[in-house]
Each structure stands twice: as C-alpha cells, then as structure tokens.
Symmetry: C2
Subunit: 121 residues, 2 copies
DNA sequence: ATTTTATATCACTATATAATAATATATTAA
DNA sequence: TTAATATATTATTATATAGTGATATAAAAT
C-alpha cells in the first residue's frame, strides 16, 4: 500500500545500491578481501590479486571515491586500507547468509557468460 | 604475501560478488526493501515500485534464482517474500555504514549517467 | 638532470545487463 | 469453452562498466 511508497526514498535506494556495487564486482571484492588483513600498496595488491596495475588503480579509485577505502602516501608507495570496520561486518554477515543460500547463488547463472550448465529446471 | 593468496578463493569471491549484485541494482533493492515489510504479490510490487510488470518479474526471477526471495502461489497470485532474515540484517548493517560514508558514496559519480556535478576535487 | 619506480589517467573495446514491447502461460470466472 | 486477470518469457535495444594498452604524473635514486 501507500505506507510502502513512503519507505521508498528514491535517493536513499540509489545510494544504498551504489554502496553494494562496490562489493558486487569480483575484482573489487578481491581487493577488499585482501585489505581486510591490513593496508597494502597498489603494487602489493597487483601482485596478490593478479590483476593488471591500471585495473587495480581504477577499482581502487572507485572504492576510494565511495569512501570504502582510504589511501595514505608513504614515499613512492600509496597504501590503501578499509575505511571502516563495518565493511568487514557486512562481509561477515554476508558470509553467514551465503552458507545457507550459497547453493542458489552459485546456480544463479542468469547473467553469466560462463553459462555452461547442463541441468534444466 | 602468499598468505593472502590462500584467502582468495576465486569461487568464493565469485559467489559473494554475485550475492551483492542482488542488492546492487536500484530496482532490485527497491523490491527487497518493500519485501522487508512482508510478502507481496507481483501486482502489488508493480503498483508500489512503479516499475513495469515484466521488469519486476525479471528482477524477481533473478532474486529467486539466487535464493534471496521465495515465491508461493495463491490462486492467480504469486506472493514473494525474503528467504532469510539475514538479508534484512545485511541491509541494516549497510544502513549503519552508510550513515557515515554516505556522503562519499553519494559523491561517487564515477559510473553515473547523471554526471552533472559542478564541483571539482 | 636523468633514470627508475610507483601509481594514476585516458581512450577504447567488449561484455553485461537493465528496460521495453510483444507474446506466452497459468488460473479463475462467466 | 471463452474471456479476464496475473505472471512469466523472449527478443531487442541501449547503457553501464570491466579490462586493456598507452601514456602521464609523482617521488626517489643515480
């Protein structure tokens, strides 16, 4: 009914969706997971993730723009770290949720390029 | 170092990113927010969100495939509801996080079509 | 000053996917 | 059965965006 419409603050939804987009890409999520263990330079992140350097920089900029990570220069190196411990909490909650719904998410190939399943539902 | 690489279970990352993609689209997030108040038929969701019926159905299918929502038929109506209370918990945590980083997320126009900001950083 | 190293930016391409329009399916009512 | 209603599917289009290669900027070392 109309009580629902009141709860649908368009702008709040947009912002919240944007936050989740920070987590919604495998490369960015990889970076965030690594940063859960502490600050890392861009070079280290490149080394650990195996992503290209420009790709890492681009994703870090995206995350930094959204305040999900913060940067700190030390000489030639720039160290990135998570901006808020609640980011880790959200990831933890998500892991708990996934332990139950993982199967469904795994089977969700709706938007997958690797759509090579042979099971028909 | 290498200890990080061990933590980077590729498949786990992919699945987790997929979960967040469920939340990362404004239309889907809207649907989820509405469902936080209880089960709704497709028609009600169309009415409340203002999205087109096929669009709602498509997003619901995506969410259902990923086990984020469950469906239940009653006559001609199909009622959708959140599959797990932890979904709500994740959203709550995210709201708390957003209360602090919202400004940054709001200003994050990196991938925005509505890129009409006049402030230069 | 020049070179080396670390990171960022930019232009471009390819892919993913959100939205739409048209149509199909399923359930109930007449 | 036929009509009406509710939901799902499909094909298509347009847009968003991830990744790459080339280059630029910045700091330190020679």
């Amino acid at each position: 009914m109309d009580t629902d419409k009141l709860l649908l603050d368009e702008q709040a939804i947009q912002i919240k969706a944007k936050l989740f987009r920070g987590f919604a890409d495998p490369s960015r999520l990889m970076l965030i997971e690594v940063l859960r263990n502490g600050k890392r330079s861009v070079g280290e992140l490149v080394e650990i993730t195996g992503l290209s350097q420009p790709n890492v920089s681009n994703h870090l900029r995206c995350l930094a723009d959204c305040n999900l990570v913060k940067k700190e220069r030390d000489g030639r190196y720039i160290y990135y770290s998570l901006s808020d411990p609640r980011i880790t909490m959200i990831l933890q909650k998500s892991e708990q949720l996934l332990s139950e719904v993982a199967k469904g998410v795994y089977n969700c190939t709706r938007y997958d390029s690797t759509n090579d399943l042979e099971n028909n539902e």
